[in-house]
């Protein structure tokens, strides 16, 4: 090894150490666990096995034969769908918010950023419980509606897809707002003036100039929302009452109640593969979109 190469490796070593300890090692451990046998009381038995992956697609019949079972696939699909809907809702709500923040006078923008980040000061678990208090049958919303005689019977706002979606939207909205804001804030507003000067209506200016220029921020926001949303665990578990199994709750259960670590690890690996595939598709589509406009 040449001295220059040695030196650059030495300089890189802190970075490599952090990457190795916090990113690579846990991932490798998960991948390794997914190919092992489940221990009888949790943990793993160090014996290679495909069982965990087989279990995702098949169940064992009474007589021990493998039967195709789409149950877990449905959970995957439901989680993907919910994360997609959550991302779309975050975008719909987040873009106008980011727009509003970016168009304030510079001295007021920091206040807005602080307001958006205030929820992070409290643990997500606490905030999710707070939503339960708001949404439950004798919660804030129902009490207000009943007391004002707008409804006779309390609405079922908790433990359904609505509450899960609301919880996800609430949890991940800042991750959509901040990258879009960062993008819009840097935008050259004279381009908007130029578009209007060239006969573009407001809608045309938005579609042809602002959105293409904000695309990197929108894409970053979507990725930052979609990835945690698909594996999210708190909102489906607490606001969904754990009745609606999501991939996040499924994985969490394998490590806690079910004590099937290899299966939980395998589900995680599959989830990562799905997300990775989605990102690659998105990156390709992103480039395609850019060449369109």
């Amino acid at each position: 090894m040449s001295p220059a190469r040695k030196k650059s490796l030495l300089l890189l070593s802190p970075f490599l150490a952090v990457m190795g300890a916090f990113f690579l090692m846990p991932l490798l451990l998960i991948a390794a666990y997914s190919f092992l046998q489940a221990g009888p009381n949790g943990g793993v038995v160090w014996h290679f096995s495909w069982d965990a992956y087989v279990q995702i697609l098949y169940t064992r019949d009474f007589d021990g034969t493998l039967v195709f079972d789409a149950g877990y696939l449905q959970i995957f699909w439901r989680s993907l769908k919910l994360a997609g809907i959550c991302t779309a809702l975050c975008l719909l709500a987040g873009f106008p918010m980011a727009w509003h923040m970016a168009t304030r006078p510079p001295e007021k923008r920091n206040l807005w950023i602080m307001l958006v980040t205030i929820p992070f000061w409290t643990n997500l678990l606490i905030r999710t419980y707070a939503w339960m208090l708001i949404l439950r049958t004798d919660g804030l919303v129902n009490n207000a509606l009943v007391k004002t005689h707008l409804i006779a019977q309390p609405l079922t706002l908790l433990y359904n897809d609505f509450s899960i979606g609301l919880g996800l939207l609430y949890s991940y909205l800042p991750f959509m707002v901040l990258p879009i804001y960062a993008n819009l804030e840097r935008m050259d507003w004279r381009l908007v003036e130029a578009a209007q000067d060239l006969y573009a209506t407001r809608a045309q200016t938005l579609r042809r100039v602002i959105l293409p220029l904000a695309a990197p921020g929108i894409l970053a926001g979507c990725v930052l929302v979609f990835i945690p949303a698909i594996g999210s665990f708190l909102a489906p578990d607490l606001l969904g009452g754990g009745k609606r199994m999501m991939i996040g709750t499924l994985i969490a259960n394998q490590f806690s109640f079910a004590r099937n670590w290899p299966f939980g690890a395998a589900a995680s690996v599959v989830l990562m593969a799905v997300v990775m595939l989605g990102l690659m598709l998105m990156a390709r589509k992103g480039r395609g979109l850019q060449s369109l406009v």
């Binding site: 003036e193 130029a194 578009a195 209007q196 000067d197 060239l198 573009a200 045309q204």
Partner: protein, 334 residues
């Protein structure tokens, strides 16, 4: 016949500033003729760009009317005005190609694709950028970006083209070229050009008429020659070219107050002695500028004046000299 051209009638713009208000444009009235190359000239902060933006519709006027061929366009949004702008730093759309940039205005007006591509091809020929249609603005030089910005506006055949300090980002030589090019485009297109600049050289060399602005008002309106030879105020005299001001008595005149003259309108009086009547001084500095030579002269009372001569004179620093100003070239202004 309805009046043609752009008529600006007591237009104002008030900006809130530090608790109070600043009249950036203060009841300005101007009549700009059709097919005219009209320049708004003034130092930064004089209101010229604000006035231009009000004509474009990018700023709303606080009072007054803006009539284009007799129709009040002040209430219209920018997208409804038959007026286009060449922005100071071009404001080309970075995510679009040259052709898409140039065709944008026509596309927004809903013109058929065939018309657009023909017009874009014509425009590229006019600005001599054939073969560059699929480049992005970032891949062009400053001068090329400037020409694309011009084409993007001109291709719409606006009634009025607004140019906001459009040449100031270019280097000297390119700027000179673009001045000639702009003048040619204006003559050939027959479009009214309203050009905003702080560069008096640019204003004098291109304009049919100039409005010199100061503190939100028009200080003087006239042809370049009228403004240079007969500046209405001391501000105009100082802003356009170099102007010397001396008490009338120093020049041996009976007028009250101060009299102005241009450096090139004064000449050395040969063989002068300290006893010769007229203005006298001592050469403080000589600057050779190629085509002309500037002489900085210090008078007995400490004032300085500048003289310029086409041919270098037989004088040197610290020589005592006398100079005289042609009587018909004296500038008497308010």
């Amino acid at each position: 016949m309805s009046p043609t051209g752009l008529s600006i009638q007591s237009v104002s713009k008030i900006f809130p500033h530090a608790g109070g208000a600043v009249r950036a444009v203060d009841e300005v009235s101007l009549d700009i003729r059709a097919n005219e190359f009209f320049t708004l000239l003034g130092p930064s902060g004089c209101g010229k760009t604000t006035l231009l933006r009000m004509i474009a519709g990018l700023e709303t006027a606080d009072g007054g009317r803006i009539l284009l061929d007799g129709e009040d366009i002040a209430p219209l949004p920018p997208s409804k005005r038959p007026v286009n702008t060449v922005f100071q730093n071009y404001a080309l759309f970075p995510h679009m190609t040259v052709a898409q940039n140039i065709g944008f205005g026509l596309e927004m007006q809903g013109r058929p694709a065939g018309d657009i591509s023909r017009a874009v091809a014509d425009a590229l020929k006019t600005i001599r950028l054939e073969g560059m249609e699929s480049r992005r603005p970032a891949e062009l030089s400053g001068g090329q970006q400037q020409r694309v910005a011009l084409a993007r506006a001109l291709v719409n055949h606006p009634k009025v083209l607004l140019l906001d300090e459009s040449l100031s980002a270019l280097d000297y030589k390119l700027r000179k070229e673009m001045q000639i090019e702009l003048k040619r485009l204006q003559r050939e297109s027959g479009i009214t050009f309203i050009f905003v600049t702080h560069d008096q050289d640019e204003a004098l060399s291109m304009s049919d008429r100039i409005a010199v602005m100061s503190h939100g008002k028009v200080a003087q309106l006239g042809t370049p020659q009228e403004i240079y030879d007969h500046p209405a105020t001391r501000f105009v005299a100082d802003f356009i070219g170099i102007c010397n001001f001396l008490p009338a008595a120093d020049l041996g005149l009976k007028d009250a107050g101060e009299i102005g003259f241009r450096p090139e309108d004064a000449a050395f009086v040969a063989g002068a002695t300290p006893e010769t009547p007229g203005a006298k001084g001592r050469i403080a500095h000589i600057t050779y500028r190629g085509a002309v030579t500037h002489y900085l002269i210090k008078l007995a009372d400490g004032r300085t004046v500048t003289l310029s001569e086409d041919d270098p004179q037989d004088v040197k620093v610290d020589d005592d000299i006398a100079f005289a100003v042609a009587p018909d070239r004296l500038i008497r202004c308010a």
